[in-house]
Amino acid sequence: MKAFAYLRPASVQEAVAAAAAPGAAYLAGGTNLMDLMKIGAAAPDLVVDVTRLPGLDRIETLPDGAIRIGAMVRNADLARDPAFAGAFPAVAEALLSGASAQLRNMARVGGNLMQAPRCAYFQDPASACNRRDPGAGCAARGGETRGHAVLGWAEGCIATHPSDLCVPLAALDAVVEVMGPDGSQDLPLERFHPLPDARGIAAPLAQGVLITGLRLPPGAARFAPHARYLKLRERTSYAFALVSAAAMLTLDGGVIAEARIALGGVAARPWRARGAEAALIGAAPEAPAFRRAADLALAGAGVPPRRGSGAGRRRALRRERVQDRAGRAPRRARAGPSRPWHARADARAARIRPRPHACRSGP
C-alpha cells in the first residue's frame, strides 16, 4: 500500500475543500477502498475520513414525506431499522443479501454507490484497464467474463456495478444528494453511474464531490406489499450477484397499476427496465405477463464476444422474473438467502443424477 496522509475533517465543507486536490480519496467504511489500496488498484495521496462527519448518520422522514438516508448510515443499521425495513422490504433484502455481517457493519450506504467493479482485470494492476488507466485497453475482452455485463456495455469497459443496495433504490427512483466545491446537488440514482463508451468509462463524481445522503421520494413505501429483491450467485451466501432483480408492483382491482423493475449484476449501473414496467400496466399479475415483461427487459441484452455463459444468465434471469409473483405476501427481510432461489436450487440438485464412473470397478 502506498503511504498516504490522513485527515479527519470536522465538517462537510472542510471535507470537500480538502478532497478537491487530485489524489485525495474519501474513506467511509473502508471495505472497498482499503481493499483496493492493498492490492494497488487505488493509491491516494490523501485519505479524507468522513465517517464522523456530523449529521450524516441518520434515517429521517422529511416534511414532504420523503425518506432521507444519511450517507454514513451503516448497511446493517439500515437493514435492521424496523420502520425502514417494513416500508422498503426489497431494500432490506438487498442489503442483507450483500457481503458478510462483518462487512455490513462497516460499510456505509454512501460508499456502496461508489464501489469499484469486481472485474478481476480492474482489480489486477498488471492487467490493462480503461477504468483504472484511461486508454490502456480492456483485458477483460477475450478474458474470463462470466460476471460481466450483458446490457449497456461498450468496447471500453464491460464491468458491472456490484451493488445490491442500488438495485431496489433505482427501482424506487432514489435521489443521490451530493456536495461539491460548487454546492449541493441532487442526482437521480438511476443515471448516477455512467455507462461506458468505446474508450472507457467516466467516474460517477468529479474529484472532491461527496455523497451526503440518499432520498426516497414521498410515497415510495406504497410498493411495500409487493416488493422483492432476488439474487442469483455462485454460492448460497457471501457472493456478488451473477444477476439480481428488484421488482415492485401496486395492484388496483386485481390488475397491475404500477410496476418497477431494476436489474443488478448485468450492467455498469443498476438497470431500470422501463419497457418491461410499461408492459405490465393493466395486466393481471400472472406468469404470462411476467414472462412477456422479462423478454422485454432483456430484449437489448447482448454478450460481449467470448462470453460463454451469457445466454445461461439471461435464461436464469427470465426464470427469476417469472417467479417474482405479484400476489406474494409481504415478507420481513430475513438474514438468509431468499427462499425461492433456495427451493429451486434444491429442486435442481434433486434432478441431477450422479453419472456412473466409467473407470469404477466392482459389482
Binding site: L27, G30, T31, R58, E60, A83, Q102, N105
Partner: protein, 196 residues
C-alpha cells in the same frame, strides 16, 4: 499521530508512525494480542473478526487511526467476562466463555487458525439475536468466516448449541451472548426508527 483504544476493558495509547496501520496490526503487533489472525488481509476470510463498539467487523480493513477512541473486544477478552460457562471438565476449569466451550464440545475446529474469528463472529451473531437456532440462518450469519479445514459442521453445531444455551439462560430469543457488557449490541443511532 496516535490512537487510544479500550481493548478488552483496558486502555491503550498507541503512537502510530504510519497511517496505513490497521486495527488488526495494532492489536497483534503493538498490543500483543495475537488471537485475531491475519488470514487474507482483505476482508474476505473473517479470521481477523473482532467486536468494535459491540459490532463484529473485519479488523484488517479498519484503519487504526479511523477507529480512535473505540472499544474493542477480542478473543482474549472473552474468557474474562461475565457469564462464563457453567459446564464441566475443560470449560469449567479454564473458565471459558460459553461459545468457546461450545466450540470445544462440538469439535468446531481443526487447525484452529480461523477459530478466534469464528468465535467472535458467533458471539456477535447470538447478541444480534436474529438467527435464533435456525441452522440455515446460523450458516448464513456465519458466512463471513471461512474455515480452510472445513470444520463447518462442528462450527454450526457449536453456534446453534451456544445460541440455545443463551436463549435458555435469558428465557428470550433475542438473548445477549453472555459476554458481558462488552458484547452487547451497539445502541441504534438515536434517530433510527424515524422512517415511516
Amino acid at each position: 499521530m496516535s490512537v487510544t483504544l479500550i481493548v478488552n476493558g483496558a486502555r491503550h495509547d498507541v503512537p502510530l508512525e504510519d497511517a496505513r496501520t490497521t486495527l488488526l496490526d495494532v492489536l497483534r503487533d503493538r498490543i500483543g494480542l495475537t488471537g485475531a489472525k491475519k488470514g487474507c488481509d482483505r476482508g474476505q476470510c473473517g479470521a481477523c473478526t473482532v467486536l468494535l463498539d459491540g459490532r463484529r467487523i473485519n479488523s484488517c480493513l479498519a484503519l487504526a487511526v479511523s477507529v480512535d477512541g473505540a472499544e474493542v473486544l477480542t478473543i482474549e477478552g472473552l474468557a474474562q467476562g461475565e457469564g462464563l460457562a457453567q459446564g464441566e471438565g475443560l470449560a469449567q476449569s479454564e473458565g471459558l466463555h460459553p461459545v468457546q466451550a461450545a466450540f470445544i464440545a462440538h469439535d468446531g475446529l481443526q487447525c484452529g487458525f480461523c477459530t478466534p474469528g469464528q468465535i467472535m463472529s458467533a458471539v456477535a451473531l447470538i447478541a444480534e439475536g436474529e438467527a435464533g437456532a435456525d441452522p440455515e440462518r446460523v450458516r448464513e450469519g456465519m458466512s463471513g468466516n471461512l474455515c480452510r479445514c472445513g470444520a463447518y459442521v462442528g462450527i454450526a453445531q457449536a453456534v446453534i448449541a451456544a445460541t440455545r444455551d443463551a436463549m435458555a439462560r435469558t428465557g428470550a430469543g433475542a438473548a445477549a451472548a453472555g459476554a458481558g457488557a462488552d458484547a452487547a449490541p451497539a445502541p441504534r443511532p438515536e434517530t433510527a426508527g424515524n422512517a415511516p
